[in-house]
């Protein structure tokens, strides 16, 4: 029997497969499809201090091997998550991570404090791709100083394992990765969506109501694997890799490039059982290739020098 368990600093997972924030609701929506307890964990929809209605439609557009979205961080708010969603997940043997965002540092801290110590919560993932209204709307994650500041503030606000989800919309992801590491992050998630745009040439209008949106799906996988490899060679803290993962072979690319765990995102929309299927496929791969533990593979990429 192969060992699928992994540790990302203080976060212990029975297997390295999680579901990405924004693609898995609050987990409960997938109960009709498979036993959530078969996963290593799930990451909630991004939570803000108060509920948010999100952006007006059109919110999504399909693009080659991917999709753009501008949902606008619609969510039930942290209070409803704690009272209505989290208690229903407690009986599953897997890690529930809360994804957190705010428009100011104080909002991030407010949400982290409310989540701290919540029964059944295994950790917090900061979504730093949200515009920082106090700094002219530049996303926290695009500015190493703002990123370090918000990470340090959240670090003080919670004793839970703290992950920072890096934005790929930067010149060099190693800079923001190091900033998050130095500010006290336990692990990094990478990557969030790439900013993209699609145009309806008949109407001569943007397809999305908000003009631009976040690109996800297999189209971004090579970019995300590259950034995982770059980051693995730049920081000491463990990584959680994501970007267009649909099957075990995709997940293994991230693991070989240095990710200790992976998140399945857009694929959950297409094949609701994707993440659960991936756990089984990964076990088969390890057995067929004679590995005892998935940990042997993390960052084991052989590069000719």
């Amino acid at each position: 029997m192969v060992d699928l368990s992994v540790e990302l600093g203080p976060l212990k997972l029975k297997n390295p497969v999680l579901t990405a924030s924004g693609t898995f609701g609050y987990g409960l929506e997938f109960e009709p499809f498979f036993d959530l307890g078969s996963l290593g964990g799930i990451v909630s929809k991004g939570l803000s201090p108060r509920p948010r209605h999100g952006n007006p439609p059109q919110r999504i557009a399909e693009t080659p091997a991917g999709m753009l979205n501008t949902i606008g961080l619609q969510n039930v708010g942290v209070d409803a998550f704690l009272s209505e969603k989290l208690p229903k997940l407690e009986h599953y043997d897997m890690a529930v991570l809360a994804n957190v965002f705010g428009e100011t540092e104080a909002e991030y801290v407010e949400v982290c404090k409310k989540l701290d110590g919540a029964p059944g919560l295994a950790g917090i993932e900061l979504n730093v791709s949200c515009p920082n209204v106090e700094c002219g709307g530049i996303a926290f994650g695009n500015d190493p100083r703002a990123l370090a500041s918000v990470t340090a503030a959240c670090r003080k606000a919670t004793g839970l394992p703290l992950l920072v989800k890096l934005s790929p919309n930067v010149t060099d992801i190693r800079e923001t990765a190091r900033a998050a590491e130095d500010a006290g992050a336990d692990a990094l998630s990478l990557v969030n969506t790439f900013v993209g745009m699609a145009i309806d040439v008949e109407a001569r209008r943007p397809v999305l109501n908000r003009v631009s949106g976040g690109l996800s799906g297999p189209a971004i996988r090579p970019l995300a694997v590259h950034m995982t490899w770059q980051t693995y060679n730049a920081v000491k803290i463990p990584l959680m890799g994501m970007g267009g993962i649909t099957c075990a072979r995709d997940a293994l690319e991230f693991i070989l490039a240095g990710a200790s765990a992976v998140q399945v995102g857009t694929s959950n929309f297409v094949t609701p059982t994707s993440a659960a299927d991936l756990v089984n496929e990964l076990r088969d791969y390890l057995e067929q290739h004679g590995f005892e533990s998935v940990r042997e593979l993390v960052g084991s990429l052989q590069v000719e020098s």
Partner: protein
């Protein structure tokens, strides 16, 4: 809700880009309500996302159906529908369903009036069967489209409805103009008191019919369509603005809160 791997039984070319595809489904799917839908994926990695298709028929909807099948009416419009139209007997389909809420029967004392715009007629064959099975009289239908080729299953509807009033933008079939013209005349004759409108078609048509329904105070259910990635409530891509019970406007998901919504709830 099932995620089925099934296969095409036949894929009838109805002309002018309209098709009726038939595939095998288990018995539980036969309980689907009209205007509920499937997310259907075709083999291969492109397009990435499945597409939503209203259920059109089940056992007994069309006289020549095989048992244990479902039918979907679609028009070739983009990449997904073009791929679907190329599939022949035996081709594999990935079918998720039943999804969404579906049409309810009209209240006692009211009769269904179906209003369809082009391929928006897709949910009505199953609805007509449901009405008949519940002992309701055959409904009337107002069927509009751009041109005469855009009225799929017209002869079936003529056989199955008490009356079908046609409108086309170019006047090639029925009255020249929009479905709202005959509808407004009916409502002005005072028929609204005995009607319940069931509407499916493009958004501008839905809005125009909803305005008439509101003016004449007629119950009106709209079967909506929206781009969606998942079909089961998680992607939040398919929202529409609606008036909540508290009077506040909020976004609801076409996939799980709809696709059928009462016209008066829409906050267009």
């Amino acid at each position: 809700m099932l995620d089925l791997t099934t296969s095409v039984i036949r894929n009838l070319d109805l002309g002018h880009g309209n098709y009726l595809i038939e595939f095998g489904v288990p018995d539980s799917i036969q309980q689907m309500k009209p205007a509920q839908f499937f997310m259907i994926g075709t083999p291969g990695s492109e397009p990435l996302l499945r597409r939503p298709y209203s259920v059109c028929g089940l056992n007994g909807t069309f006289p020549d159906n095989q048992r244990g099948t479902a039918q979907v009416l679609y028009k070739v419009y983009g990449k997904g529908t073009r791929l679907l139209s190329g599939l022949g007997k035996g081709a594999e389909l990935q079918v998720l369903g039943p999804l969404g809420n579906g049409f309810d029967l009209p209240d006692t004392g009211r009769r269904a009036l179906l209003v369809a715009g082009g391929i928006g007629s897709a949910p009505f064959p199953l609805f007509i069967r449901h009405l008949a099975e519940a002992g309701h009289p055959a409904p009337r239908m107002i069927y509009g489209a751009r041109s005469q080729g855009d009225l799929p299953l017209l002869s079936w509807f003529r056989d199955s409805c008490e009356e079908v009033l046609l409108t086309t933008d170019d006047g090639s079939a029925g009255e020249a103009g929009r479905v709202t013209q005959p509808l407004e005349r009916l409502l002005e004759q005072g028929e609204g008191e005995r009607l319940h409108l069931y509407v499916c078609g493009p958004d501008p048509m839905l809005k125009a019919v909803a305005r008439l329904a509101s003016r004449f105070d007629v119950p009106c259910d709209l079967a909506l369509e929206a781009p969606m990635a998942c079909g089961f409530g998680v992607c939040l891509g398919c929202v529409v603005p609606v008036h909540g019970d508290d009077g506040e406007v909020r976004f609801e998901r076409v996939c799980v809160d709809g696709p059928v919504m009462p016209a008066q709830r829409m906050a267009w």
